[in-house]
Amino acid sequence: MSDARPRGRLFRKYVVFLVILVGGLLVASGLFELYFSYQEAQRALVRLEREKALAAAERIGGFIGQIERQLRATTFAASDVPAVAPAGPKAGAFRQTLASALIEQRELDFLRFLRSVPAARDIRHLDIGGKEQLRVSRFALDAIGSGEDFSQAQAFLGAKGGKTFFSPVYFQNDSEPYMTIAVPSGQYAVEVTMAEVSLKAIWDVVSHVRVGRLGHAYVIDSRGHLIAHPDVSLVLQKLDLSELAQVAEARAARTKPDTDEARLMIAKSVDGTQVLAAHAPIDPLGWLVFVEQPLAEAFAPLQASMLRGAVILVVGLLIAVLASIVLAGRMVAPIRVLQAGAARIGAGELGHRIEVRTGDELEALGDEFNRTAARLQESYAGLEQKVAERTEELTRSVAELRALGDVVQAVNSSLDLQQVLVTIVTHAVQLSGAKEGTIYEYDEASGIFEPRANVGASANMIAALRESRIRIGDTTVGKCAETRAPVQLPNVEDGAGYRLRDLLLREGIRSVLAVPLLREDRVIGALVIRRSEAGEFPQPVVELLQTLAAQSVLAIQNARLFREIQEKGEQLELASQHKSQFLANMSHELRTPLNAIIGVTEMLQEDARDFKREDELEPLDRVLRAARHLLALINDILDLSKIEAGKMDLHLESFSLPPLIEDVRKTIEPLAVKNGNALTVSCPPGVGSIRADQTRVRQALLNLVSNANKFTERGKVAIDVHRAAGAGGEWITVAVADTGIGMTPEQMSRLFQEFVQADASTTRRYGGTGLGLAISRRFCQMMGGDITVESAVGRGSTFTIRLPAEVVAPQPIPIERPAPAVQAAASAASPDVLVVDDDVTVRDMAERYLTREGFSVVTADGGKEGLRLTRELHPSAVTLDVIMPDIDGWTVLAAIKGDPALADIPVILMTIMDERNRGYSLGAADYMVKPVDRERLAAVLRGIVRPGGRSVLVVDDDDFVRRGIAQALEKDGWKVSEAENGRAGLARLTDAVPDAIVLDLMMPEMDGFEFLEELRHRAEWREIPVVVVTAKDLTEEDHRRLNGEVEGVLEKDAPTRDAMLREVGIALTRCLKRDHARKAAAGT
């Protein structure tokens, strides 16, 4: 439709030419008109301004002149000493009288002067020497013969010359303008009379001059300084205006009197606006009056005439444009008809005929176009038909391609086989123009083609097809499968003996085409389309169906694969579940008998010791050692298998390194002493804390340090801790170096393999499972680190643990803190807590525990320090010890609560004085892993139970274990009651409430978890401390069920304190939650 040919260019040319011609004339005349009226207005304005300036100058000049005349008048009345004076002795007295008479006369003259000149402030008479003889003032005291010296004053010197002196303007109080006028007086005009005159009157004159709304006048003195202006503040700034263009020109003009007619000036005003300025001189003074009016205002009237001119111009231009359009239109019309006609013919409208009746060359041109068009029309007629046919073909191909695209997309994007197959059949039916179609899937087991998807078929037909149980070689479907090639039945009526003939004829089907679905020559199914017309299917349709069949194969194949994968996945999951179950049970099953072995052996050993049966001691000791070794081995294997199974969970927490290192050192110390090794630790104080699994780090480190001591005799073992920045953050390295036997490179290469020590003989000589190092390394790798080794035979070895300072959990959910409230509070505000305690261990533990809970912790080692830090840091909460050496907790509490700025900080008192008040704990106070170290258990119980209370309930289903524990505790002075499961335990509790409970977790009837829940529901039992004793390998889930109250406590020897610290954590959370809620309610 659109044509690149320029349209209407001729017309535009004509219009532009005419507009320029007429419009140009109009604009030129308008601008000349404006220019002259502007000139005239300017002249008129400056005349007006000049008149105002002259009037103001005259008034100001008159004002000053009047004062000068009045001042001169005072000099006539009193003249100097008369020429004739008596001589002799009376001369002095006469002179005296005469002088005082003169002064009196002059004083009266001066008083008259002040009366008639209100602007005068004072008036003085100076004698020939410039000494003041008389002063009359409105403000100061009058004075006669004061003799004040004015001989150097400008006024005196100026007037003594015989002329009136006008001083420069000066300001009193920095606010009022004054001028001194001095005239010569006395008979010889050698004395001087001078007056100080206020010039505020000039200001009034100036501020009364108005030109328009914004025009104003101002006065400058002979130096070019501003002395009067309507804006007084400008005058008080003592502005020097001699730089302004209009001032400079006016001052220059004064020196050349011939150029009196000052030029109109457009210049910048004091405030920088464009003004129209005129001026007039004030003659005796050399001052200038300026009258200025902002240009904007001055020429405002001119704007109206400019507007008129512009309107006329616009109207004229419009008329010119209209006229040009009409005129040009006339000229261009026949050309346009020609152009439009030619364009229509060119666009293929060959039947069009051009109508130009101008009777000139243009008409002839039109006729020529018409003839050409007629000839073209004839030759095009044949071409069009061919094009139509081709287009139809193309449309079909495009439809096929699009369908194919849809099918491919369906196959690729959907696993819903049915939907994909329906899509394929639908397209197959549509594109081939068939009535209906079906996809069969071949079931190899039964050898039958099952219809999977039908399109267009009636319900009857579908039912019939389903029942027809087609086999290979049977009907078109079977045949195409047999031949692996498309088979068609061009006319159903001809197919005598065809099995489905009657069915097809009943449904109005006259021809059938079947294409096999093949995958690597295996029959998967078939695609069939049925038409209601008889006849061969054209080749393109057959090919299309083959393509669609290939897609169907893919879809069916995809669906089958998916089904298989799903089944495999389910099987795998089940297997994995079984394995974890097995692992958990293994630990129980393996440890329980060992438990019995160790327990019985220990008892036997004690008995042997008690009864002095020395010969039994050694074998029993061997049994015990063997059993313990076996236990260690089981633990190692369990760890290893858990790692292998990916079931090893990490308990990530932040903890301080030095205590851990110290703990390891203490544990290994006996072994080091035994082997005569010097064990040294180098741990810089700034090494700080690490976030990792504390237990596993300890295990790895213990393993390395104990290995080092094992393989070194009378040498040195050094533990070296470092913290350094490295790839991806900070890293902690712990190097364990020994001076032991060392290893060959070959030995080192096998070092980290499971069950392998440096060589077989090592095992015999040094013992050990050979698992420890491999497990330790796996742990470190799980935490994102590693263990490396450097060694040489005879020179010792150095094992180095390298861990990131912030271990990131390897699994998506490494550990969940049991109390979500704590977590929420911690993440919401990350509050800081001040721990005040004189005991360094309490501080460390509090710091470790609270840091782990997400608090940021600051510690203070005494009451004074605590109070100082409270004021300085304003923490979110304070935990406070009661008994401290400097000032006790009660005093600190009183100080905090007494200070209004601090009173809102929650304070938690931490005291171990009254154990009964540790009431918050809902869960167990501790847990231990069987076999139980009885001494340890006793110590724990001693720690958590108040003095005097010595009754304990032992709940365990294993009679042997229960008896063993009971015996040990009884020996330690406890009153022990026993229960064989949770339910029995609860029954005992109703009889008598014990001071502590020792609880097994895995029991019949009611297990340990259920028992704990019951315990917590009863207020009177809630506070009973519980020590969990279990052979079960506690899972993450178990930890959760124990409500996090039993975690990691055995690592320290102060379980009561740790429990208490947990309560602190809970209490803090409560406080912070309250605080949070209050702030939210207050509505920030």
Binding site: L31, A140, E176, L236, I266
Partner: protein
């Protein structure tokens, strides 16, 4: 030819400038009259300063009712009512506050930091803490100073001129009034030259005033303060008449009531003078930029009858100086 072309170009350039500038110059005619709040402690609305203001503004082209309206609050000598009246004026939304005397000015200053204030009858605005400097008062205040401090010496001079025998001059004043104290200092400086002794007596209540008055002896003279706190000038006028003690007052008001002589600004003239400042502010000037003006008109008034009753001769040169002579 060339220069004419240059001229033409320049002229067209100016034309364009004019066209742009004149389109921005919009003439806005004031449609609402300005509201002037008047605040003083007078007994009636027609305080001479207010009358002066009205006359002054009339002369400057502000027609009452059309261009300005007045909201006059006078507290009838009750200083405790003045702050409330000032607040009321501000609340009423006046465009400007015109005050007469120091207390009213201070009340207005405390009431607003935005509404411009023009004061009159303030003895010494700097000493009195009304403004920071005379030349640049700052904030929203300006006004006319009565020049009390400047005129104190001259008053003492006039007193000694009338009563040459006087040696002790009592300056009884309110002890908390800085203007009066400054004036007394000026007088003390001149006293030596005039061979008199100034007895400065600060009083704080009527009791003390009564007590101070008792110590005045015949032959002494009085220099009453300008400020009317505790009604000190009136009390001294009474004493002056009853005990025949010569006194020089700061305003001719007291001479009309039998005071001997006064030298000071004329209230009416001060009002008229302030009208000029008011007009400037109403036309857009900032009050704080307008320098405080000293009173233009200083009047000398003398009461010949009182002089005669005191047995004093009035010198010729004093008569020549006097603006008002009461017989």
């Amino acid at each position: 030819m060339l220069s004419m072309r240059g001229d033409l170009i320049r002229a067209f350039g100016t034309l364009v400038t004019v066209a742009i500038l004149s389109s921005t110059a919009a003439a806005a005619q004031p449609t609402k009259p300005f509201r002037i709040g008047v605040l003083n402690e007078a007994w009636a609305a027609n305080h001479p300063a207010v009358e002066g203001l009205r006359a002054g503004l009339r002369e400057l082209g502000f027609e009452e009712g059309r261009d300005v309206v007045y909201d006059i609050r006078f507290t009838q000598g009750k200083p405790e009512a003045t702050p409330a009246a000032a607040e009321a004026l501000v609340k009423a939304g006046v465009d400007l506050i015109f005050t007469s005397n120091e207390a009213a000015t201070r009340a207005a200053k405390n009431a607003t930091r935005t509404v411009p204030i023009v004061f009159t009858l303030v003895g010494d605005p700097v000493i009195g803490g009304i403004v920071r400097t005379i030349a640049k008062p700052g904030e929203n205040l300006t006004g006319v100073s009565s020049l009390t401090t400047e005129l104190a010496a001259k008053r003492l001079e006039l007193l000694t001129l009338l009563a040459p025998k006087v040696r002790r001059v009592w300056a009884i004043h309110h002890g908390d009034d800085p203007s009066s104290i400054a004036a007394i200092w000026t007088a003390e400086a001149a006293a030596k030259q005039l061979k008199v002794e100034i007895l400065s007596r600060p009083v704080y209540n009527a009791e003390q005033l009564k007590h101070a008055v008792k110590s005045i002896r015949p032959g002494d003279a009085l220099l009453p303060p300008e400020v009317g706190t505790l009604d000190i000038p009136a009390a001294l006028l009474e004493l002056s008449i009853s005990s025949r003690i010569p006194a020089v007052f700061a305003t001719s008001l007291y001479v009309g009531h039998g005071g001997l002589v006064s030298y000071g600004s004329d209230y009416y003239a001060e009002g008229a003078q302030a009208a000029r400042l008011v007009a400037k502010i109403l036309r857009g000037a900032r009050a704080g930029d307008l320098p405080v003006e000293g009173a233009d008109r200083i009047d000398l008034a003398v009461n010949l009858k009182t002089a005669t009753s005191l047995g004093l001769a009035v010198p010729r040169k004093l008569l020549l100086r006097a603006d008002t002579i009461r017989r």
